[in-house]
Symmetry: C2
Subunit: 394 residues, 2 copies
């Protein structure tokens, strides 16, 4: 069966595979097992909400990747991956959520059959879905193999986006803009949060222009008032209140590519301290964007951001951003670089970040953020184009 409608060209998938193989080579890895669904998708085109059971992609130096997973999801694999059907290897359903057997036993058998029982096998030890038990089972089943930590090996290859990928992120950005426009227009006292979230979701998947929207890797986050100190609280049925700030952390998503975009709305007349915080934050964002240039390092963005914030007496201990691209739940970050002191990763053209200096204080919070693209020269480009401010509706 031919995969319907692969998101990228054959050349793009070949480019990606070559990068990963080079990284494997540099680490002396003979075969790499990838369970992160984002990495699986990036390498093969595999797409489906099946990452709640064990599945993955085996990457070899000298043959096409192999998709391995649950039988019923092999039906999805043959429809979505660029490899031939012979490279889709299912396991039987009685391995799913069993105390008597573990799917990794079948993966180990596959690895043995392919001749890698005593080789160096790369594993994503610190990653979603690759459980401790999965690791212990593989260790047990492959006692002669050397299990090598390949956490983020693929993620690092994803850092510099191709033109094809940037095009997808621009489409996601159009959706992000539409969502924020809608939120700013609709927010008013008495509007129930869950109703607003329903509208956000409808816009997110409707998409923008003629492009349909995919599900974002994180649900809309919109805490208000003192709850805005807690960045990851989700909604309930309470209405938006007057004299309170609500930040909206949302993202459009186009074929798994995100452009996160956050704005804060105040219903009423904001207190002076919030206006001061907004001013410092916007200055910090502008300074950070200036520093977000090819050749600088991630920590430089943080250092530039920090100056206006410190001057305003705002202490924030968290990092101020992370790379973005394609992702699956539970997170839309790439888990490689962090915009924080000590991260001296060199910024390169084509890297994309969510520049996210959220302010989460004891009893207030504010988010004004930008998804940014590092350019060949000059400061970063913002993927979304909307006023960088707290929206006040009095």
């Amino acid at each position: 069966m031919t995969a319907l409608n692969l998101p990228f060209s054959a050349e793009e998938y070949a480019r990606r595979l070559a990068k990963v193989r080079a990284a494997m080579d540099a680490s002396g890895i003979d075969v790499l097992f990838v369970e992160d669904p984002s990495n699986m998708a990036w390498l093969t085109g595999y797409d489906g909400w099946s990452f709640y059971v064990h599945q993955g992609v085996l990457v070899f130096h000298d043959e096409d990747p192999v998709w391995w997973g649950r039988g019923q999801d092999a039906n999805g694999a043959v429809r979505t991956v660029w490899m031939d059907d012979a490279n889709v290897v299912p396991y039987e359903d009685h391995y799913v959520q069993s105390t008597e057997r573990h799917p990794m036993q079948t993966l180990a058998a596959l690895i043995r059959d392919k001749g890698y029982a005593n080789k160096r096998i790369g594993l994503e030890l610190e990653n979603y879905y690759f459980s401790a038990k999965a690791y212990l089972t593989l260790s047990e089943e492959l006692p002669d193999a050397e299990l090598v930590d390949a956490t983020a090996l693929v993620n690092w290859q994803r850092g510099i986006k191709s033109d094809e990928e940037i095009a997808f992120m621009r489409k996601a950005a159009r959706i992000s803009e539409a969502i924020i426009d809608h939120v700013v227009e609709r927010a008013e006292p008495g509007l129930k949060k869950n109703d607003l979230v329903g509208e956000i979701y409808a816009m997110a998947v409707r998409g923008a222009g003629s492009e349909w929207g995919d599900y974002p890797a994180i649900v809309p986050l919109l805490p208000s008032g003192s709850d805005a100190a807690a960045p990851h609280l989700t909604w309930d049925g309470r209405a938006l209140q007057p004299d309170m700030a609500t930040f909206f952390e949302i993202s459009g998503c186009y074929r798994r590519y995100h452009a996160p975009f956050c704005r804060t709305v105040f219903l009423g007349k904001p207190p002076a301290f919030l206006v001061e915080a907004e001013k410092a934050l916007v200055e910090g964002l502008e300074a950070g964007l200036e520093a977000a240039r090819a050749g600088n390092v991630a920590a430089d963005i943080y250092a530039a951001l920090a100056v206006p914030l410190e001057r305003a007496g705002i202490e924030r201990g968290a990092r101020a951003g992370y790379p973005i691209g394609l992702s699956y739940p539970p997170d839309w970050g790439e888990r490689t670089i962090s915009i924080r002191p000590g991260d001296n990763t060199v910024l390169q053209p084509g890297m994309t970040f969510h520049f996210m200096p959220g302010l989460w204080m004891k009893d207030w919070g504010m988010e004004i953020t930008e998804s940014i693209l590092i350019r060949e020269s000059g400061p970063a480009e913002c993927l979304c184009n909307r006023p960088r401010k707290m929206f006040v509706k009095d």
Copy 2:
């Protein structure tokens, strides 16, 4: 800070803690670490989209549980857990996604400080989010501890629902019904799938009656035609087509509690083989429901379902259902029991299942399912109340 609006009573949380402590005692576990966000929520009320970083709950025999996690999420913990603020222990942000340090180092320190460095520590080895690296770090940091596999220890305590929980699931079921009603009414050739998904989401979070809706743990799944052989494909912008079946796998969600409910819609005149399959499936569901009684075992449901299906020549290798209750992404199942041959778990009143005999064949698929509640006597009750059939719109 007092948690706002805990979903359950103090007595209910005490009941749950007592059950878990008894299970720990039976396994000789001195302290239990729980990273599964569903288990964290069930035990403490903690709620937030923060499970993309390491976090968890420590359960002791002789003191209240402790929430441990990222600093910014401690702000969410003090607002959502029933324990005192002193039982909320944050770690600094530079531990997040670092190659130089790991958050589990701080958990290990906490465990040592509490006097458990050389004790038996229960860990959810096969669970989402508890990574191989987390396990290896704890092993390294606590060389004198005995690390015990406590996978699903808490999940098993969640199996029999209290009246308070069943009430939540009934609210979720009302939302599920509203979604399916809407889908059946709206489905027609030319309607774009993403537009329909937007409407589904809006309904899901709008809720039903005066009750707001929470985000389901799985996105709406609605593959059509031959793609319906692949149960976990998500949508795109293509329109519904005539002469094709589409199944809708959705769930209402009330405060994290689910009532999954699937129906299939055929636009046009269905071919004879599909009508035959529907007939066999509905017979199988009815037979399974009859067998879903307190005192029977999970495998009995499967055995009853299988008779009409085999008679119709339909082979399905997958399990036919799993327990449901409260859940977070990536899955809404409880990961304890499976309705399949060999699972001889005794069915007890208060258990809830998604009775889910999905048919995923080579080039067609159909789902007609029920969320069910095992009763004191008699066959299971269906939480949703809608015709059990393939809806034909000719």
